[in-house]
Symmetry: C2
Subunit: 580 residues, 2 copies
Amino acid sequence: MKKLIKIDMSTLSIKEEQVPEKYAFMGGRWLTSSIIFDEVNPLCHPLGKGNKIVFAPGIVTGTAAPTSARISVGAKSPLTGTIKESNSGTKFSQKLARLGIKALVVEGAARDEIPYVLVIKKDSIKLIPEKELKMKGAYETVNILADKYGEDVGICCIGPAGEMKMAMAGICFNDLRNRASRYAGRGGLGAVMGSKGLKAIVVDDKGASGVEIKDKALFEQGRKKLISALQSHDITKPKGLLNTYGTAVLVNVVNNAGALPVKNFSSGRTDTAQNVSGERIFEETKKRTRKETYNHACSPGCIIQCSNTWYSKDGKEMVSCQEYESIWALGINCGIDDLDITGELIRICNELGIDTIEAGVTLGVAMEAGIADFGDGKKAIELLKEIGKGSPLGRILGQGAAFTGKAFGVLRVPVVKGQGMPAYEPRAAKGIGVTYATSTMGADHTSGYTIATEILSVGGKVDHLDPKGKVDLSKNFQITTAFLDATGYCLFIAFAVLDIPSGFEGVIETCNAVLGTSWTDKDVNEIGKEILKKEKEFNSSAGFTEADDRLPEFMKEEKLPPHESKWDISDKELNDFWNF
Amino acid sequence: MKKLIKIDMSTLSIKEEQVPEKYAFMGGRWLTSSIIFDEVNPLCHPLGKGNKIVFAPGIVTGTAAPTSARISVGAKSPLTGTIKESNSGTKFSQKLARLGIKALVVEGAARDEIPYVLVIKKDSIKLIPEKELKMKGAYETVNILADKYGEDVGICCIGPAGEMKMAMAGICFNDLRNRASRYAGRGGLGAVMGSKGLKAIVVDDKGASGVEIKDKALFEQGRKKLISALQSHDITKPKGLLNTYGTAVLVNVVNNAGALPVKNFSSGRTDTAQNVSGERIFEETKKRTRKETYNHACSPGCIIQCSNTWYSKDGKEMVSCQEYESIWALGINCGIDDLDITGELIRICNELGIDTIEAGVTLGVAMEAGIADFGDGKKAIELLKEIGKGSPLGRILGQGAAFTGKAFGVLRVPVVKGQGMPAYEPRAAKGIGVTYATSTMGADHTSGYTIATEILSVGGKVDHLDPKGKVDLSKNFQITTAFLDATGYCLFIAFAVLDIPSGFEGVIETCNAVLGTSWTDKDVNEIGKEILKKEKEFNSSAGFTEADDRLPEFMKEEKLPPHESKWDISDKELNDFWNF
């Protein structure tokens, strides 16, 4: 029987409960959002004892389904004030699933100043005070815990930013080589974990019985369909675009489309984008390591394998991973076009336990305020280090882009619902603008990645500059994504399954096989809608209205080069998003 | 014919318009809120060119009606995001009215870095660049402008905090002795003025024709009724409580009631309150100046005369005025019980151009965060000076209590809609809690001063601890206050007119006499409702909902000594407030 584990940090007590009937088929975001919806008062202080933080593997996580080791983390967000789900690929998730744990629910508030580590094994779950981990960076924390509990364990932790309850603090997971590098980064969930006094979670699945599969034949059938799709699509196949160039393959593509936000969203294109492109990473890595290197998996069972490693000039490992979003945020958005600098900035973010996107958008706003010049990598490094020190300036920056903009009276602040925008200019890619505006999570590309169709021509082809039809495009993406976020599959399978229908059949079949359900396309669409509506209702009770589903004023007023386009989807059209 | 003056700071152009019919009977808050409602997009950035700042004298301001020299200032607030009206008593207001100016509407945004001064005379209105005023304190600014334009002019200005667009920046007016001491303090309106590049406004009414009175006999009748009421009520009469002890007479009274917030709202009573009481100010002033001194008027025509002056031990003037709210916020709320320190803190606030209430509530939160110890006056002075420097710490504090709480992860933050609570504990005075929660302005005692009845037994007598009937009490106060804020009369006339019905008749009669209307009690009640509903509708369009009409979580959870009471008016009852 599957379990919910409830950890109350006020009393340091741990309860094991059978999964209630209503949650039986749920996983990932479906489950985290449902528990938050059911149990958290939408008006609670996000850092108070009333908030809860929920960790849930997806429906197929822990099975042999490919690329399905996502962990969803949910809570009321201290960054946005909305409900939040952020997810990451990591062995941590598989191990939880294999132990029969459907979700961890961490409640209450820190009782004292000592950070605790939750250690989960097959036959025991314990909270262990670990004074020496206090204010330790994420790299060191993972190293200490891997030394103590074994190389093979799944580890989740926060860095100093989470302990300081900063709204850009993310939650870190170990990758296959125990690098503190995989993040449920967005929405300040690290601060929620910090407010509860929980520094880390260790999961050891030794002796676990694994995930029960109700229909093994169907599972094999579905799994094969999905593998076949992933292995044949240009984006996801071995030595395909992601495996070769990583997510940073997007740099040149999005730049060519004129949708790459440059210097705090003041242009959609830059001449120097290629300096920090995926192609450049591939070439430079070959030069520095003296061999042709393809990317690696962030988590077991991933066959896309898009994670890169960046090496210093003398061939030593410097950081993993230079993701597209991170390079953009900390690089292009700050006028920085040097991969050694973006690598160092990413390394510091990982060390402090902060979201690279929010950090980069915040630096862009700080540069707009004149705190540093655009392009000044040295100063950008210093500013991130201020966050780690918790100096007054660090306290401002650590609260994110909206907060920093307010502190310095900046008007050009690219946020929705308090969350910094990711690496796609809504004025040049109107569909993603609809996603930013309407997402229940604040500005979040992963909640409805219309870029796939708008710019990559996956699942169809549309003009990214044209506002027409973009509300529906985003709606379809957001509904499907909400379901995908429930399955445990990585969002990147979407590239293949949008173009190859049998791949999506495989997704549904593997879920049906695990759960013993007989969901159709239509059913999973309804599941997606249910998730979105639940999240929306939570947000409404928290005080959010149509007025919050808006892009910042400056995007309606300023034309974006090179296409000289403004944000031109009307408020009325945005309001129509929720008619489903 | 009365005029609206529209000043566009983007183009440095000035337009004079006849007052539209719909505004003909309006004044003060009624007019500022109506213009903001009609002309400002509720979703605009408060510091952007879309916001407007409106200055409007009241209906009877500029006549011989007693205690009626209030100026209303309105805008969308950068502190709360709501509509905002903040008012002050000052000769500035009378002079505008006597020039036939119904309102100044300042639009657009600063064109460059040069601060401008708007100089209004009978036959000319000019915008004059004044480089040397840049980042000048309010005292110096008023001195320079009084030297240049004459001792008798009305002056309005902002200090460095407004120029730095800080959300606790207020708008300063000169008192009768040209002290930069009278403030439309709340809601960050100084930052709005700063964002438009307007440093000051000078009004010279030489040669003005004055305010037309349609029915002089009625005016005299109403005026006499009001004067008689004010001169006979114990609180407002000459050598009465306000004239003798100033507003600080409340310190002992509210402390005795157990409703005086101590050390960031952790108790309702303190043993040392008397050290900073109005009685102590009176005695100490007698000692230091070697004469018995009664208070002075902040503005011409005031017969209550509640403004005090604080002197150093050697008898030199130090600051005016030590108001109850300021002493409480910067003193008692910070554990400080020394009038020389509160005097210095108030002086610094006046110099920087910041709201003493927001500043004190912010210091209380900073002390809760451990930035300073409660009671450490020296450190409190240093912290205010950081605001003036615009250092990172100053940028945090300058944005107010909610912002400071967020920066440092503090959970006990006494704000509603982002505005710091004034000097009455809602857990011990439930009516004022309803006002804080439901006011269209954020936590604001002046928008529905139930304390008059709850604690001073003016206009009736109720148990301040009892939640029953408090929604209606606040509703009645808020409706009446909205009307009073339209008249130009000081809110303090309410003490007299609540107890002496002929006084309130005098208020209505003087308005009718000026306007040629024949309003009844019922009519002015409807006017009050109209104002509130308009403000509420603006806020709803700006995204505010019932979820924002709430007191902070900690007040529902923590018992307040000495009465050990919690906030216990239900959300449902609060929602009922708006059923009128």
